[in-house]
């Protein structure tokens, strides 16, 4: 006869009193030893005075007029007022996309979409001088989200991610076209939209546009470069290695500088490309070189038996890569990919070097523009930091959720 531990020794005794309850928590985590206790108290006092100083500054000294006086400038730069409906249309398209993502992925996408919709809604309600139409378009964001959510309903569940990808790319390109209304040689501008000059696209909108463009384009280019680097064709391999290593070896701002002075010269004759696209291309190229190295690392971690198994099944080499090794390689590096997206988004602030007015540059110009604002650097930089942080941190958060959904590290 076997007896359980509980039967032989009776019920387990309660945990020691000093480890339970909030006193137990304090003791274990803050005062586990003499040195730990001293550190806790010292840090606690320092934090208290820092917080006190911060609150006092916030209440008595800080003056946020430098930001509240010119909200549109921070959001869309010097975009012509009569065309505000265009970025708003783009915003509605993207909101629809978020609604789709909500239904497709649930979880992280839901949280992000809800937060974003609420934020836009609140911004639209701020009593700021704004045309009724523009305000109505902003208020329609939740409706657009609901629309996207409803549309996703008609796509069979298995192919939703695929369709989401296709629509997503379409929507983002359409947004870019609508916002910039750029004219294609020979075709003119889509739907006869008046093209907006490059210096008029600015503010947070410019950062988001560049980042969206770079994120869409840099992953496929990076994958292509990584595959080229793994290829057995020496010329192709050498070209990819040279490209990747050169781009990775120099700072982005020198590349941006070159994109202004050198890149246009390499295009065929009579093609004039706006600075907006040049900077977008440069940021994409820069990011794809890093992406290629990430992908290469992920592919290297896929065991060689996987591709042998593919061959044994009779798949061709490209099929093995596309359907077996690449997906596994990419799954290995989700954090690295999102990390690269985050640094791409942060890097969009560097376009100041070629004279574009992104969010940071607008903030800086705002400080030097009016004499009464020149002391408000603290407010401006904290605001800029907060805006960037909200975006980058939510990207990191979503990446962690995706990782969990795909079960990385649990198989």
């Amino acid at each position: 006869m076997s007896t359980t531990t509980a039967e032989r020794f009776g019920p387990a005794p309660p945990p020691p009193a000093f480890t339970v309850g909030w006193q137990g928590w304090l003791r274990m985590n803050l005062f586990s030893s003499w040195s730990s206790g001293i550190v806790t108290i010292a840090l606690g006092v320092a934090l208290f005075f820092a917080a006190l100083g911060g609150v006092r500054w916030l209440i008595f000294t800080s003056d946020w007029a430098v930001i509240t006086d010119r909200v549109p400038l921070y959001i869309v730069g010097t975009y012509p007022r009569e065309y505000y409906w265009r970025p708003e249309i783009a915003l509605l398209l993207v909101s629809g996309l978020m609604g789709m993502a909500w239904r497709t992925w649930g979880g992280p996408a839901r949280g992000f979409a809800a937060a974003f919709g609420a934020l836009v809604f609140v911004v639209a309600l701020i009593p700021y001088q704004m045309d009724v139409l523009y305000r109505a378009l902003l208020l329609a964001v939740p409706a657009a989200m609901a629309g996207g959510y409803y549309c996703a309903h008609f796509i069979p569940e298995q192919s939703r991610t695929k369709w989401f990808g296709i629509t997503g790319a379409g929507v983002l390109i359409a947004s870019l076209l609508v916002i910039a209304g750029f004219s294609l040689p020979g075709i003119g501008s889509p739907a006869g939209l008046h093209p907006v000059t490059e210096s008029e696209v600015g503010g947070l909108m410019l950062n988001l546009l560049l980042a969206a463009f770079g994120i869409i384009a840099s992953l496929p280019i990076g994958i292509a470069l990584a595959l080229g680097r793994r290829s057995r064709l020496p010329v192709l391999k050498f070209a990819c290695v040279a490209f990747i290593e050169t781009i990775r070896g120099v700072p982005l701002i020198t590349l941006l500088f070159m994109s202004r002075h050198l890149l246009p010269l390499t295009f065929p004759e009579n093609i004039d490309v706006s600075l907006l696209y040049l900077s977008g291309i440069t940021i994409t190229i820069f990011s794809s070189a890093y992406m290629a190295e990430n992908v290469r690392g992920g592919m290297a971690a896929v065991s060689p038996q996987q591709s042998q198994a593919g061959e044994a099944l009779g798949l061709k080499q490209w099929q093995t890569t596309l359907f077996i090794t690449l997906p596994q390689g990419l799954r290995n590096i989700i954090p690295a990919i999102v990390g690269q997206f985050i640094s791409l988004f942060k890097d969009t602030s560097l376009v100041f070097i070629i004279g574009m007015l992104d969010l940071v540059e607008i903030g800086r110009a705002g400080l030097s523009g009016k004499i009464e604002y020149s002391d408000n650097g603290m407010e401006v930089y904290l605001f800029l930091a907060l805006v960037f942080w909200v975006f980058t941190f939510s990207m990191a958060y979503i990446s962690r959720r995706i990782e969990r959904t795909l079960g990385v590290g649990r198989r």
Partner: protein
């Protein structure tokens, strides 16, 4: 006809050798023709628009002043020399930045693993905040803070030796005298001897199993020789203190400008938040069984850390850290935004009087050289730590 298209009985389009060969040629042709198109366009445009190009300007004099330099500089110096001065400025901020970023990164990374809740939460906040904000914003922020410091007249002074004001930071520094280089030589010899002695003692320790204090011996020999030689040479270094002079200027000691200070703080804070994550992951990557095994073979806490945990953690920590050193170096180019005269900001100033493409080309090649240097260090390290077959 069919016979012609066969090789050893296999049709050409299914022959691996033939296909490989064709693909090689096709890829070569594609790459070469792409490059040809790009360069033809480039040269045509350069011709047509009469864009200045070339390197004949390098020996002309620049005529621009540079705020702070490591070596003597006057505006009459040539472009070549000016760019070199700017390069040294980049190297200076990168070197100091790498040293401090490593120290701060290790402290924050270890703090992240502290059992003290407050400490590890603070480390987490530090990492999550500074890693996710663009470096440019951080630099502008620190520069704003530095500029908001009081002027030299009311500078923060510590012990009449350290001055912090809105024009930068000054501290005591050493000035090499005539006997400086012989002293350095003797110190190097002392270091070599100490290294050798420590190796011998460690070998004896391994063989006999009796403890020897090799680290202590190493330090005693190194500093003993250094100090003895210092007095023997009659003071090869002279300590100079910063002093307030006329016109609110500081003289003596070493001084760095406000923009250098802001750039350094920004780079250190930004990079250290990345290094901290690497350090944390590195320490966590060593499995707990290793510590337990080390303790059960009789090593004490320090010894198991030194001989078992650290060597394995460093293997994980150092390669990505080196790539962050390179990132720091490249990020120092953001100095252009706050007016520290690094390579990029000097080169952009020079573009007003010389071909922009050539200048930035030189800058890019210099950065490539620096990144090769880091790659070299990384490769040497990787070779050193490779697991050797027993």
């Amino acid at each position: 006809m069919m016979r012609l298209l066969q090789y050893q009985g296999i049709p050409l389009w299914r022959n691996v050798v033939f296909l490989q060969f064709t693909l090689q040629i096709v890829s070569a042709v594609l790459v070469v023709s792409f490059l040809t198109i790009v360069f033809t366009n480039l040269f045509r445009e350069i011709d047509q628009r009469e864009i200045p190009f070339g390197f004949s300007f390098l020996d002309r004099s620049t005529g621009i002043p540079i705020g702070e330099t490591l070596i003597d500089y006057t505006p009459e110096d040539s472009y070549r020399y000016t760019l070199f001065v700017a390069f040294l400025n980049t190297v200076k901020v990168a070197f100091v930045g790498v040293v401090f970023a490593t120290i701060v990164g290790i402290i924050v990374g270890v703090a992240r693993l502290s059992p003290n809740w407050l400490v590890n939460r603070l480390a987490l906040v530090y990492i999550d905040v500074f890693r996710n904000i663009p470096l440019l914003v951080q630099l502008l922020f620190w520069f704003f803070i530095v500029l908001a410091l009081p002027p030299i007249r009311e500078a923060y002074v510590l012990g009449d030796a350290f001055f912090l004001s809105n024009s930068g930071f000054a501290m005591p520094w050493v000035a090499p005298q005539g006997s400086f280089w012989p002293w350095v030589l003797v110190c190097a010899l002392g270091l070599g001897a100490a290294f050798y002695a420590a190796r011998v003692m460690e070998r004896r320790e391994t063989e006999s199993g009796r403890a020897s204090h090799s680290l202590l011996a190493f330090l005693v020999i190194t500093f003993g020789v250094g100090t003895a030689a210092f007095f023997a040479f009659g003071g090869p270094l002279d300590v100079t203190m910063p002093e307030r002079g006329a016109f609110e200027r500081l003289s003596g000691g070493t001084q760095v400008s406000g923009s250098f200070l802001a750039l350094l703080i920004g780079l250190v804070v930004y990079t250290s938040s990345f290094i901290a994550e690497i350090v944390r992951a590195g320490i966590q990557s060593v499995s707990k069984g290793q510590t337990e095994a080390a303790r059960s073979t009789g090593l004490n806490g320090t010894a198991s850390l030194r001989f078992v945990i650290f060597p394995q953690a460093l293997r994980v920590i150092i390669p990505p850290t080196i790539s962050h050193y390179l990132n720091l170096t490249k990020n120092s180019s953001l100095a252009a935004a706050i007016g520290y005269p690094d390579m990029v900001s000097v080169a952009t100033t020079l573009t007003q009087t010389a071909p922009a493409v050539s200048l930035i080309g030189i800058v890019m090649v210099s950065y490539l050289g620096l990144s090769l240097f880091y790659a070299l260090i990384g490769n040497i390290y990787n070779r050193l730590i490779r697991y050797k077959a027993l």
